[in-house]
Amino acid sequence: MTLSTLWRSAAVVGALALGLTACSGGSDSGGDSSDSADGGSLTVWAWDNTVEPIAEQYMAENPDVTIDVVNAGTGNDQYTALQNAVAAGSGVPDIAQIEYYALPQFALGGALADLSDLGASDLDGTFSPGPWNAVQSGGGIYGLPADSGPMALFYNTTVFEKYGIEIPTTWDEYVAAAQALHAADPNVYITNDTGDAGFTTSMIWQAGGQPYTVDDTDVTVDFSDDGSQKFADLWQQLIDDDLLAPISSWSDEWYQGLGNGTIATLTIGAWMPGNLESGVAQASGQWRVAPMPQWEAGDSATAENGGSGLSVTEASANKELAYDFLHYATVGDGVATRIEMGGFPATTADLQSDEFLNKEFDYFGGQKINEVLSQSAADVVEGWQYLPYQVYANSIFNDTVGQAYVSGTTLSEGLADWQQKTIDYGNEQGFTVD
């Protein structure tokens, strides 16, 4: 009744409105899911730009299937949308892209379907261990890895050449390089950092720390272990000596800094090349990739940074079809498309294929960067777990640990504060945390 009243008001306001509704309504079918006559239709929420072409490929091979790919926001925005849709019980997509750190939260909340019985339990060994562990939670498999982010050291070789500084292979050398670079030119920094939860946890991961242990709803949070403290001590030196550019990642200043030599290195996930090529085109030929610096010379430990998988939602009315597309996109022909578009795969077969390893990148001066990145994927330290409410924990990272970057608090104090707030929240939410 209200709606028809509104329609009448709309009509009073002007025919223009109706014309527009008609024209904008025509070009798109909206977000309807499933219930199509044959084959069926799927709604996919993904911000990754490779999903759309893969869906088109799939539809070309399966003409009776319709897939609607919707960019419902990047990362947190989409998680908010997904949580709201799940809470409301309507408008939930069939498939959603979810980063590894956020996956346990959705799995525990019952939002995602366990793919074990749909065929995912046969996929052991298909994916590199880091991502494959990340999509499993409490004995179930809640997604298939779409990409992965084994870490490596990206560096601007022209900066290092200009000042005659060696590429660091250990974290001690890294600090020395940071000091040398900054002393040579006060405008140059080894890297930028204003406090990033994903980076910090990945660094602790590489250092062998295990601050989170999760057993169903029994959770421990402890940043006093060796790995965490090694990282805190190292990074505190860089903060104390003002050796980190106070530029937030992903800002326009960051892209500028990567392009003009202000930011000399990034220790970041293997998905970074695509971002450099498109966002920092002017620095083509200047960047190279080296293995992640080590805590002990000669080691080869790495960690995962970022990366995401595709999951089928529990609310999906067409889970089998959804899984079929998922398999196609992450194990089947979709993988080739993703690699072609600059994505970094999680499938071991592709990571080890000659074609992949021997590809020369013009942007990186012809370097075969996949050799380094692929090796990193194999060297990821095992046993890491994220919290079943990591999205919230990460959201308060800058309230706590981040203060170490702008005030007198130390990183250790910040981590302790983060730990306490994370524990408090968990207990409030009904977990048993200590």
Binding site: G109, T194, T217, P388, S395, V406, Y425, G430
Partner: protein, 355 residues
């Protein structure tokens, strides 16, 4: 007279609140100048205060006999459509929020009725009160500066002593047309100390301006964005109020030998008191509901703008990142009540001075 005008102004003041702030433009937009003649009436005592109750115009006239039962409900025919939609988009969600604020939903363990527990938690929540303190500071510093500039410019343009006053009027007003999202993105680019405008100035003059997005300065930087957005808007409100002051008053004053400053303090300012009070109340509500600007700047200054930087930001992150819908609703209701009380007190004081 004082009581009556107080009551009249209180109602409009809150009525004008822009839709809970965030859904539409959020700082201090929808101010109305209809109150100005009230001020004029007080000064001149020549114009009857017909606006005292708009309904009076209708109600004081005896209606014809036909005004029977049917006629009594005719008004609803006109007000009804507004109220139906209003109930849907305001009353129902508020009622739902109050309901939510009495429960607690956990990720593990489900939903439980907790009575007023959320309220007692909020009253002793240091994060909430430090956020409230921050917006209060913002209010005390930014609002007087913004309204002061707006008033001075309005007086300057109204004085007729400017070259090209029409150009001034429209140009200073233009920023109001810029959506808060765009304004914040724009200032965010400019605030960059390395490659932004601040960085350019540092390079050009060989100086080192402090980082506008550092924790010490970020509140001031947000204040600057809000001031930029709304100075012209408030200026136009004051200017419109000034324009309706009867010309004869100035002539009389000039005959009595009063100078410009005397005319401003004795005639103009009292005459636009109503507009000043309304603009102040709006700015209070805008300050307490501060959200868009800090929320968008957060990606550039993550450590300086915490998740509990303003009460509204706090309610947002509780509800969305933390999935604490119940507590988030509680925080919002408390802030709503607080805003009403403060606006009410300002209203009271603003009008009392006039007496």
């Amino acid at each position: 007279m004082v009581t009556s005008s107080f009551r009249d102004l209180w109602i409009p003041a809150v009525l004008l609140t822009p839709f809970g702030g965030l859904w539409q433009r959020d700082a201090a937009p929808d101010v109305d100048v209809n109150i100005c003649p009230e001020g004029v009436a007080h000064v001149t005592q020549t114009v009857p205060s017909a606006l005292a109750d708009p309904a009076v115009a209708a109600s004081t006239r005896p209606g014809p006999r036909r005004r029977g039962v049917a006629r009594r409900w005719t008004g609803w025919g006109f007000v009804g459509p507004f109220m139906i939609v209003f109930a849907l988009v305001f009353l129902a969600p508020i009622a739902y929020s109050i309901y939510l604020s009495l429960f607690r939903q956990q990720l593990v363990g489900g939903n439980a009725f907790v009575g007023l527990e959320n309220y007692s938690r909020a009253l002793s929540d240091p994060q909430l009160w430090s956020a409230a303190g921050r917006v209060s500071l913002f209010l005390v510093v930014q609002v007087p500066i913004m309204l002061g500039i707006a008033l001075l410019v309005a007086l300057a343009i109204d004085s007729g002593r400017l070259y090209g006053s029409g150009f001034f009027r429209i140009s200073i007003f233009l920023p109001y047309a810029v959506p808060a999202v765009v304004a914040t993105l724009m200032w965010g680019f400019m605030y960059g100390t390395r490659f932004g405008l601040i960085g350019n100035i540092n390079d050009a003059f060989g100086i080192s301006l402090p980082n506008p997005l550092s924790p010490d300065l970020v509140l001031a930087s947000i204040g600057n964005i809000v001031t930029w957005e709304f100075v012209g808007y408030n200026m136009l409100i004051f200017y419109s109020a000034l324009r309706v002051i009867p010309h004869s008053l100035y002539e009389a004053a000039e005959i009595d030998g009063a100078g410009q400053w005397r005319i401003i303090s004795a005639i103009k300012l009292p005459a636009i008191r109503g507009a000043l009070v309304i603009a102040t109340i709006f700015s209070i509500i805008g300050s307490f509901q501060l959200f868009n600007e800090p929320s968008i700047l957060q990606s550039l200054a993550p450590n300086a703008i915490t998740t509990s930087f303003t009460p509204n930001l706090y309610a947002y992150s509780l509800g969305f990142s933390g999935q604490q819908y119940n507590y988030s609703a509680t925080v919002a209701i408390i802030m709503g009540l607080l805003t009403m009380v403060i606006a009410y007190v300002v209203q009271l004081r603003g009008m009392r001075k006039e007496a």
